[in-house]
Symmetry: C2
Subunit: 224 residues, 2 copies
DNA sequence: GAGTCAATGATTTTCGAAAATCTATTGGAT
DNA sequence: ATCCAATAGATTTTCGAAAATCATTGACTC
């Protein structure tokens, strides 16, 4: 074999990761065209797995296909940000409500643990406090996943996951960490407390507000 | 060129249609393995476009991929039917609520027209009244699409569309047209009336009940 | 001068075969 | 008899090149 990657099973999977990361970090900006030649250079493989990766990315909304004319990075818009946010408020709000109602001890433990890991490190970098730390973002995502993990609906979880990936592109847009105008710590703590207090509707409402604030903050970056 | 298909742009698209249809009609049953050799025979093309079609179908939940071990048709389960139904009630209910609130004259016209086309033909076949007519199913789907078409949220519409495709697999399971235990005509008329009366919450509630009844009916086929 | 059409170049899409991986079987050792 | 390793067969996955399609350019007609 040419190379044995640790966990990665197929080249198509590697290509998927590589291209998605390149889009995440802005190496390929919104609207930018994605030529196979360039992607083959980036991924170091033939056209076949690259094409499969693009098919998947397109299904998830990261890229757009114009038949016989090629792929390009999906554009971002203020309207879509609002749309995605509304959908998240609906779906993840309900998922959280169900999760709080159905969650058992293990769920509580997962939520507490995830919150602890997130609260344990600062949101911004030490050298550049205005830029989010990669690991904080990961733990932040894990906390939100833990919150809804007991909802009992694989379908809802999948929808929430995809919406979260979409929203992530907008989240990354914000160079600044929202300034001091917002108490992110407090918002998360409130989520945690209401969840543990089994206040299903309250937790769902807090989550919707949480996402609403995030969207409102990000919306500023479209007017710059 | 070898052949010029009317509207079809790529072979991958044709493969997607062909395989999905084969799954819909039961040519490939739930859990059945999908070998590339068989699919190439079915579609009459090389492995590349078939693979792309499977990638798409997998993203939409029709098929399942076990890396290096091949694709197979996704299994159906009573649990998933309930799960999908709940998600539809949530998402499409909200979409309908928004649509009724925001819809303009053109939307009203679309809804009335779609309902008329659906009500114009019988649900079951003349020769085999227990089997649904293909064209009725198509018009039924078009009516539901028209109902939510004014919700203003592309994201929500996409989610509803995908859930509808999933649910379609279960809908097709039912050999019988639900017997006389149900007034499908009436349910749809109620949806139409509440929508036109701009009773947003009422329409949404009627839709949720509509899907609830459909699911309850289909659930019987798992106990046979 | 505007518009149509054919030729050219760039790019996507598809093919057929090679490479990699998994599954089942056989043979042998404990 | 059971378990493990090596082999063979079947299948997926990837490659490199050919075919098909789209965009551009320039000539030609009206």
């Amino acid at each position: 074999m040419t190379q044995k990657r640790d966990g990665a099973g197929t080249r198509a999977g590697d290509a998927y990761d590589a291209i998605r990361q390149a889009i995440r970090t802005g190496d390929f900006g919104p609207g930018e065209r994605l030529r196979f030649s360039a992607l083959q250079d980036l991924c170091g493989m033939s056209v076949t797995p690259v094409r499969e990766a693009l098919t998947r990315l397109t299904a998830e909304g990261f890229t757009v296909l114009d038949e016989h004319r090629g792929y390009s990075v999906a554009r971002l818009s203020l309207a879509e940000l609002g749309d995605i946010t509304a959908a998240r408020q609906l779906c993840e709000g309900e998922a959280l409500r169900l999760s709080v109602m159905k969650g058992d001890e293990d769920w509580e433990a997962r939520v507490v643990a995830a919150h602890h890991l997130m609260a344990r490190i600062p949101q911004g970098r030490e050298d550049m406090p205005s830029v989010m730390r990669e690991d904080w973002e990961a733990r932040h995502g894990a906390f939100h996943v833990a919150l809804i993990s007991a909802c009992g609906s694989p379908t809802l979880l999948e929808i929430c996951g995809k919406l979260s990936l979409q929203a992530d592109r907008y989240r990354r847009m914000s160079v600044s960490v929202s300034g001091a105008a917002r108490d992110v710590l407090g918002e998360h703590r409130e989520l945690l407390e209401r969840a543990l207090a089994r206040d299903a509707d309250g937790a769902a409402e807090a989550l919707r507000e949480h996402y609403g604030r995030t969207a409102a903050m990000l919306a500023n970056f479209f007017e710059t």
